[in-house]
Amino acid sequence: MFETHITRRGLVGGAATLAAASTLPAPFVRAQAQRRLVFWHSYSQKERSDAMRQIADRFEKANPGVKVDIEIVPWPAFPQKWPAAMAAGTLPDVTILLAENAVPMALAGALNPMDDVVKALGGAEAFKGDIARTTGLFRGQHVSVPHYVHNRLLVYRKDRLAEAGMQPPVTWDDALKVAIATTKAPDHFGWIPKLAKGDTGGGFLLWMMARSANGSFFDKDGKVSFDSAPVKDATAFIVELARKAGGPGVTDYKINDNFSLVNSGKTSLAEDSAAIVAGAAKDAPAVAEQLDATFMPRRKRVGNLLGGISVALPKGKNPADGKEFARFLFAEENYTPFLLTIPLFMFPSLKRAEGPSFFDNPTIKRFRNVVDVTLKGLEDTSLAGMEHGLNPYAGPVMNSYAVEDMFQRILLRNEPIDQAVGTTAKQIEKVVGDVRTRFDRG
């Protein structure tokens, strides 16, 4: 029989020796490892995350020696995650992000340019409208490429409009009349604007309406133009809409509440993307049968609002493979099948993807008018506050919730519109001023 005696000193000595020995093979292990490509995306739904994994698998097969590690980063976590990763030196090689999130990353020097990728995809003109430029060009370089896009529409209930003897609204006046005519309180309301604090629903709606009246919140240099006739006009329209056809919850609701408001039939009109129709088709088929969409109502023009999800190349450890992978995402065998994993949620940013393989999808066919309105709107659209291209002001202004605060003061405290717009303009000037101070300094 063997007898083993382990003294405390022997144990410590052994542990120290093992610890030292374990570091020896590390360089050899590293040298033999595959080329690792880190890819972040926020497509948490099973259909989309599965599709991303399949694309990554195909990329690995086409590029022996490359291993794609995918990390799903929830949309709300992204703004906090990338600065931490940058500080830790663990930025991914490729990421999916909200188009507007590329601005702070680019300013922080966290992104590699994507001009080569845009060129390989056919140049900016290969994309719909002007979206490659307005969502991706910053300081003369493409810092991101739109992966998929959508556009805000006015979704309406056909049955309620028919019951009220109304046509789909075209102008603001039409929209107000339709909203009032389709309100049957307390059962349902005509159009419930989403003006809750902590959400950008009010800011987005006001920006669309202000654009529709040929106004905006600020110019490309950050000069604030909020205290203006178009913004006051748009504010008055939304306030009247909220008071006459919005019901009691307008200051409670956020953009995401649209799904339950539409599916439950509580609202006859809703400003949203085609995704709201897809949601109804899945969760409330009877309601979906009654849904159709038109452009947002116009004063002088249609104020389209783009929703853009982009691909960017952060400064990870494998930039060469990252660039290849970004291109691979747009390859024909990958791109359209991905867009159709959840039909009506995602529309092609590339013109060439608008073909039979996209339009023959049963859901796309079923809601073809909604699709056509979306695609038409994408020809003249931009991100909120970025009609002149990416800028560092729009994000902080929208995220300050100054506009939602303004609507709440008007609706809940009866603050006069002129005064409320003036006060909000000063708040926006302060936000923009703070950003510009740093921006000008470089």
Partner: protein, 315 residues
């Protein structure tokens, strides 16, 4: 032979460097075992606090690379902002009302639970239910229950004739703060209850028997026996809950986002908006430091009261 004796012995042959290292490590084994724990504590507590303190004096931003020291500019901007003072007042109201409500309800629930003889364990488990769910689930459940269009609360209150029209429980500047406080009381009282139940079980039965012999009524037994015996437990849970509620962010943010207008903007929400919405990390860190000072002051008052109470009890 001990390591010390071996070191002092001039006849001891010289040891190889490896053996000396092992001996050196062996002598400090206790310190070695403490290092991982201390390192973890430093990493998760000391480092963030120290880093936050430094960032509070810089213009660090999520949008711009690099940073420089700006002295007390962040603190001056914070203290000059009327919304900061509104948020401070909101935080004090939110904390005081929530903790008081949780304590009162927890105490009543614990005393009631002590009287239950059948199914006590099941009841206790049922009352802890709020703690079993993530705050995001509860916040959304409350939002749906309180919804002005399809919320069950408005429906029930209208059915029994207590209100004529749906109320905006979270959307009215006058109702939003009381509503989130009620939600927080519901969420937090089980913690108080469980702690007080544990405290009740440590009170010797003889004290109640002696009180009975002296002819004490139920209220007198509660006031002169139960409450003094529970004092330390109550003080501990009140201090803990004060810290947690004061720093609570998710419940308010998920239900009202700090609105309507600024009715429920508490200091954590204010700090979040500065840092993660405005990308101004320096300002957020400054607000966090001011919050630490305010909380430190509140806790100092608590501890002072506790000491006074202890002295009074001893006298």
């Amino acid at each position: 032979m001990s390591a010390l004796a071996a070191k002092a012995d001039p006849h001891q042959p010289a040891r190889a460097p490896g053996r000396r290292l092992v001996a050196w490590l062996d002598e400090r084994l206790a310190i070695l075992f403490l290092i991982p724990g201390l390192a973890c504590l430093s990493a998760v507590i000391l480092y963030p606090v120290a880093y936050n303190a430094v960032v509070g004096f810089t213009n660090a931003s999520l949008m711009f690379p690099g940073w420089r020291f700006v002295g007390t500019a962040n603190f001056e901007a914070t203290l000059a902002d009327p919304l900061f003072w509104r948020a401070t007042l909101n935080t004090l109201v939110w904390t005081a009302c929530s903790v008081a409500g949780q304590l009162l309800l927890g105490l009543v629930a614990a005393l009631a639970l002590e009287q239950v003889t059948v199914g006590r364990t099941t009841l206790r488990l049922a009352l802890i239910v709020p703690w079993a769910f993530p705050s995001i689930v509860m916040a959304f459940a409350w939002r749906y229950m309180l919804d002005p269009l399809y919320g069950v609360l408005n429906f029930l209150l209208m059915q029994v004739g207590l209100i004529d029209a749906p109320q905006q429980w979270l959307g009215s500047p006058d109702l939003a703060m009381p509503t989130v406080i009620v939600m927080n009381i519901w969420f937090g009282f089980p913690f108080m209850m469980v702690a007080i139940v544990a405290g009740l079980q440590t009170i010797p039965q003889e004290l109640y028997e002696a009180a009975d012999i002296d002819g004490a009524g139920a209220w007198q037994k509660f006031w002169y026996v139960t409450l003094p015996a529970l004092w330390q437990v109550i003080a501990t849970v009140v201090i803990l809950r004060t810290i947690w509620v004061f720093n609570n962010f998710d419940f308010v943010f998920l239900t009202t986002g700090g609105g309507p207008i600024d009715a429920t903007t508490t200091l954590p929400v204010y700090a979040y908006n500065a840092g993660w919405q405005q990308y101004d990390l320096g300002r957020m860190a400054a607000v966090a430091l001011v919050m630490m000072v305010i909380l430190g002051f509140i806790l100092a008052v608590y501890f002072r009261l506790l000491r006074l109470q202890k002295k009074t009890g001893e006298a």
